[in-house]
Amino acid sequence: MLRYFVSKLLISVVLLLGVLTLAFFMLRMTGDPVALMMSRDASPEEMEAFREMMGFNRPVSVQFLDFLSKAAVGNFGNSLHYATPALPLVMERLSATVKLAVIGLLMAILIGVPLGLTGGLNPGSPLDSLGRFWGLLGQSVPNFWLALLLILVFAVRLHWFPSFGADQAKSVVLPAFVLSLAVSSQILRMTRSTVLEVRGEDFVRTARSKGLNQATIYFKHILRNVAIPLISVIGVQFGYMLGGSIYIETIFAWPGMGQLLSQAIGWRDFPLVQALAIFTSVVVLALNLATDLAYALLDPRIRYGK
């Protein structure tokens, strides 16, 4: 178990280094990061001064080492717009994004798991058809569009929920629901197909043939085996929610990292964009690590496999 944990941790550290490297070189992809960050009508002197200030005039290798050593102590440079360190600005926004994602994830689990279970246990039933339709909707409805439609119906026409902001308790309902739709569809489809698969396994047939009652078969044999892949899907989807709420936070003016990202792009504040990208990746990597561990704790096959 310890060996498994250490090897997963090492992989995460390597991935983290990879993320830093990618984020560093992406900013220099067009050749000149100065032209990217300054307005078109900046004078050559201003551009030169800016280049000097940001240290872009040094050799790339020096810049890269400098970037890495600063990143190691959590320094990702200053935001151009706020003129303060970028990382605290990002951290400030974390709690709002996490709150949105947690509530969205709960909604997705509450919708996806029951529908997936009933669908998998009774394929072809009306509830299964409903579930499959929901699964299809979740895959094909663009969330930014759904957000606009829900605002139109539930905020503008019916006045049930506020159309933007995070100052009321019920503000979270619409954005969290939009965020949960695609995830609930993933969870539903996965639960359904795993149940279908496990139902046909030998151990279920054996259990049935030795006369176990249905409830015991469902809870001890089927549900336990469904839980394992479910945890992994939930972990991956939670990461997706943390990094993928850009549209939703922008549309609902939800004060999280996604909203900050679209603002930073608008300001051409690339140091801030870079810090956001790195920080979100770190959170997602940590989440993947946690998922892997939960997975190993639940499934002895993985623990002893390697």
């Binding site: 991935l15 990879g18 663009p142």
Partner: protein, 308 residues
């Protein structure tokens, strides 16, 4: 065939030989049995038809402005007219012809994006899977790195740096999506290499080339086509999303994402500027997902049973 003697080789070929027509009939039967797949394919062909024949279906130019008739509602609402069934936008441009042109942009991005991603992914994944060992670790390291990162965030990051153009969007999706194809191709190659039929081909003395072309590549096509369908649908989604943030094709190009970004400003009073582009994305994506589910079931017989 050199001779007609009953060598074991000729014999086995006789048994598995099915004509192209048989296969087509078999596919058609499977398709008919899966109503979702039938509907999905029809939906997809409608979108392709709309994209190809946009200029034949409507004579109106999607870029022609007519400020006097701006923000005209769709035909079935008060103040609408059947000459412009989906109404007009804030500059009086015909929404119906803009939606049709949008299909063109979306399908172009989806098709070429997937083509690049699948080609890159197939080559990279097949090399990693076939040679294995150190080659595999060197190739799959960066691939797993990219797959572990928050995808949307990095696509937005790159798009913001590169700037708005159709070519950039296609390249961004083509390159950032290739790791998924690489991973699937690698997994399939590994699975096929271990399979009994490849083992027996090797023990019968088949050379590498024969194994790659006769056994591995034909077996890779199924999973890759299925993946391509889903990825194309995802790319159409992401393109619209980038457009919505103002990071996709230039603002004067009528893409569904650009139209949504524009429509958002008039959401409260002129809902059709938002409704139609969104419906178009949903229609396309739903068709491709249904068709993709069907393809996956058909191309992978192991799954055919589990669905009823």
């Amino acid at each position: 065939m050199v001779s007609k003697t009953f060598s074991p080789k000729a014999d086995s070929r006789l048994e598995i030989k099915t004509t192209f027509k048989d296969r087509l009939a078999f596919l058609a039967r499977l398709l008919w049995r899966d109503k979702g797949g039938t509907i999905g394919l029809i939906m997809f062909f409608i979108v392709v038809f709309a994209a190809v024949f946009a200029s034949v279906i409507t004579a109106r130019d999607p870029l022609d402005q007519d400020l006097i008739n701006s923000k005209m509602p769709p035909a079935w609402e008060e103040g609408g007219a059947w000459e412009q069934p989906f109404g007009t936008d804030s500059l009086g441009r015909d929404m119906f012809s803009r939606i049709l042109s949008g299909a063109r942009v979306s399908l172009t991005v989806g098709f070429f994006g997937v083509l690049i991603a699948a080609t890159l992914g197939l080559v990279i994944g097949a090399i990693a899977g076939y040679f294995g060992g150190r080659v595999d670790s060197i190739i799959m390291g960066p691939i797993n790195l990219i797959l572990a990162m928050p995808y949307l965030l990095f696509v937005v990051f790159i798009a913001a740096i590169l700037g708005r153009s159709l070519l950039n969007v296609i390249l961004i999706f083509g390159i950032t999506d290739s790791p998924i194809f690489a991973r699937v191709a690698r997994g399939e190659v590994l699975r096929i290499r271990e399979s009994a039929y490849v083992e027996s081909a090797i023990s019968a003395g088949a050379r590498s080339g024969r194994i790659i072309f006769d056994h591995i590549i034909p077996n890779l096509i199924g999973p890759l086509i299925t993946l391509a369908t889903f990825e194309m649908s995802a790319m159409i989604f992401y393109e619209a999303g980038l457009g919505f943030l103002g990071l996709s094709v230039p603002p004067d190009v009528p893409s569904w994402g650009n139209m949504l970004a524009e429509g958002r400003k008039y959401l409260v009073n002129d809902h059709w500027l938002t409704t139609f582009p969104g419906l178009a994305i949903m229609f396309t994506s739903m068709g491709m997902n249904l068709a993709g589910d069907w393809l996956r079931d058909v191309l992978d017989p192991r799954l055919r049973r589990s669905r009823k």
